[in-house]
Symmetry: C2
Subunit: 506 residues, 2 copies
Amino acid sequence: MAHVITDPPDENLRLLEERLATISDVYSAASVLAWDRQTYMPEGGVGGRAEQLATLARLAHEMLVSPETGGLLERAEEREPGSDGAALLRLARREYDRASRLPASLVAETSRATAVAEPAWIQARDNSDWSLFAPHMERVLALKQEEAGYLDGEHPYDAMLDRYDPGASTHRLRSMFSALKAGIVPLVRDVSARLGEDRTAPLGGRFVEAAQEAFGREVITSFGYDWNRGRQDRAVHPFCINFGGPDDVRITTRFDPGLLSVGLFATCHEAGHALYEQGVDPSYSRTPLAGGVSMGVHESQSRLWENLVARSRPFWFHFYPRLRDAFPSISGDVETFYKAVNAVRLSEIRTEADELTYDLHVLLRFELEVDLFENGLAVADLPGAWNAKMEEYLDLVPENDAQGVLQDTHWAIGYFGYFPSYTVGNVLSVQLYEAAVEERPEILPEMERGEFGTLLGWLRENVHRHGKKYEPDDLIERATGRPPDTAPYLRYLESKFGELYTIRDK
Amino acid sequence: MAHVITDPPDENLRLLEERLATISDVYSAASVLAWDRQTYMPEGGVGGRAEQLATLARLAHEMLVSPETGGLLERAEEREPGSDGAALLRLARREYDRASRLPASLVAETSRATAVAEPAWIQARDNSDWSLFAPHMERVLALKQEEAGYLDGEHPYDAMLDRYDPGASTHRLRSMFSALKAGIVPLVRDVSARLGEDRTAPLGGRFVEAAQEAFGREVITSFGYDWNRGRQDRAVHPFCINFGGPDDVRITTRFDPGLLSVGLFATCHEAGHALYEQGVDPSYSRTPLAGGVSMGVHESQSRLWENLVARSRPFWFHFYPRLRDAFPSISGDVETFYKAVNAVRLSEIRTEADELTYDLHVLLRFELEVDLFENGLAVADLPGAWNAKMEEYLDLVPENDAQGVLQDTHWAIGYFGYFPSYTVGNVLSVQLYEAAVEERPEILPEMERGEFGTLLGWLRENVHRHGKKYEPDDLIERATGRPPDTAPYLRYLESKFGELYTIRDK
């Protein structure tokens, strides 16, 4: 077992750490079961798995909120501010306080309901039939609303946000989205007027799945993904998962045989998450310090590797010739290909959206979630509300619900409040990347050679290794010298897409 | 949740069932983690997985032996003899009594030690280096000896046997093995004198793994293996595993690209286990009644499908033409192929042994385990003792330890006392099969058409569905009209191998 606090000896703290490690193990076991459910579990396993996950969630919750844990926390001596020990206590107390407010039965029921809702969502999506999912959505939403009722927050929705981004609030996100909207909407309008012919043609064709997988593996191996501490499998909805530490961090992906970008960018995205988790200080394993600090910072890592790296010119200088070796049917020069992977399209699917319109997809979900939690939007009205907003922001109406309200897994698994993390991540990715390049300008020439060691090293040093030690805002300020800020991100979008669509000169 | 006891209502029993279901869920979660460890887990996961498994084992153990469980058991009203409820109470009390004697720390430490020993064993086997495994063997053995000390039994080794075969004893197995030895050793001698040229040639060649897998899938699909409630993966040491019920029963296998029999018979063997588990009454799920009643009866099912079905003439009447379609390089008539899959060879590896010599491999392990537990055999002396017995029973000395003492996973995972189940299974497989064919003679003509519905139906009705409801001996007597008996098995071996090697006329 890893001990983050070794000095001075303190029996009470040792017992607390042991207890927290046990709880961490149970959560890790649940994560293995969740991984299995989404990768290899046969259909027949659905019911039993739901029970197992509910039991593990309940046991972990009971252990966390037990009088023993409470007593150990109460008796814990304060540690030197800024030390790992102080951070451990702060995080453990936050978890304990939050969990203590939730009845164990609610936790178990949420776990059970989402375990059943997820396969129902897959079926609904495959058949584009909202009615197959709607009752599950009702149930999961009701449980999460009940959860919000037990927790603090100016708004019920704040309780949802806080779980993924400690300190996030409806209020703060509203101003972030409003700044982004003010910058992005006119930019999208300008670009839309100049879209011209479809630039994505080089990404289409027939691409053997094994070759796609091999190319993706080559790319993320060059990023530094450690296969001895991870693996890649297929899943309907790609994800990254780990089990209490940096030594088994797995990613999943999906491939479209007719569209190269789907599998490649999903692979880079999930690898970005995995590089973060693989980089956390191993001594934090099985403690509250383990893992990425917030979903916003997590998404900053996935989006950084997906967009700032894998959708950049220097990246393709190196990888385009290799891609053509792997897929000789691809034609055109690297600049054409660079334009293809950055083509702006007003499209229906978030995960396939270009960088420019991506945040409008998130904005739509943020607003709908606020409406569900704060303004009484009914589940029955959700498909209609979805389509109305799609029309407003992206000037299109989804062909069917599979292309619309059913496209994401998040609600099925109870992840209300998660979506905003994607946009927080976009914002932070540029702030972090610019700080890295400013400090280590050799990152760019290295990237042109397919080398990423300096970039990964900077991220490891300034972000990854710290795990949950610092609060998200703190971590960003330490790494970049400034608090989180939308300005660099907006400048980046304006510059990149302004050039790509010749809105203004380079 | 399944309730096996619904009438009359009894709140105490309902609470007991709920508690046992929770414990079952934790064991099921541990099984998923074990499955993952042996199939897909990356190397880096070893340490963390050992902790997770130890934690789950400890939690399940603590819940089982807690005063709450004890109180519920004590207060339970007796149920009508022969009812599911009575069986549930009997099994729950046995588990409780057994577990109450073991300290939780020993249970956790055993789980942790075996989780580390297993990958060490794989490494040792791959490098044929006993020294890599010896310290783990010492540790696991010491823990199991400590366990035996806490449990009942005329012999310390009885405590090991009892876990896999309730009611088995060193004494009883000694007489079984002595009867078998008296029948098999002279038969092996007679056959050895007539071995002639190697009959296994048709099984050798180059066989693409995907084609081997497809053929195996076709075979076990025809047996009745339900893929909606299972799946097949690769593992170093094939196994079957399930998670608290019949709805997710997985098998693993391994393939030898140069030898067809390895993958095919491993597949049939594990499918035999899986058919048993898939056939247990679903209402027993998450209760002590779930799952096969003993490893002896379990092995009777795996060996029945592996040997009495897949090594029989009627089976190959149907499947040999299909096999030749799949592997056109195979030549010769079906009789030659039948002789190949039943060729007797004095060989080193138990899992590849023919039916006739198989029990001598088990006898050797049984005697060594007795020596380890009762006669002070030192781990350091085990490779030598192994080789000496191989020479005595099979007239050969393994080329190296990978081919000898390192070939099985059992000791690494703490399964002392398991090996005898294979021979118990062989004995019972013939007794059950003969009873089935006697009652339903159409089983044989169906088999010649590749149909197994009547055989599976008989096994479902007489064995599978009962789960753990009856004691093993009871189950066999109900199914066959007689208590377990070595005579049918010995007659079968004499008849089959007498004919194959023309020792006496058909």
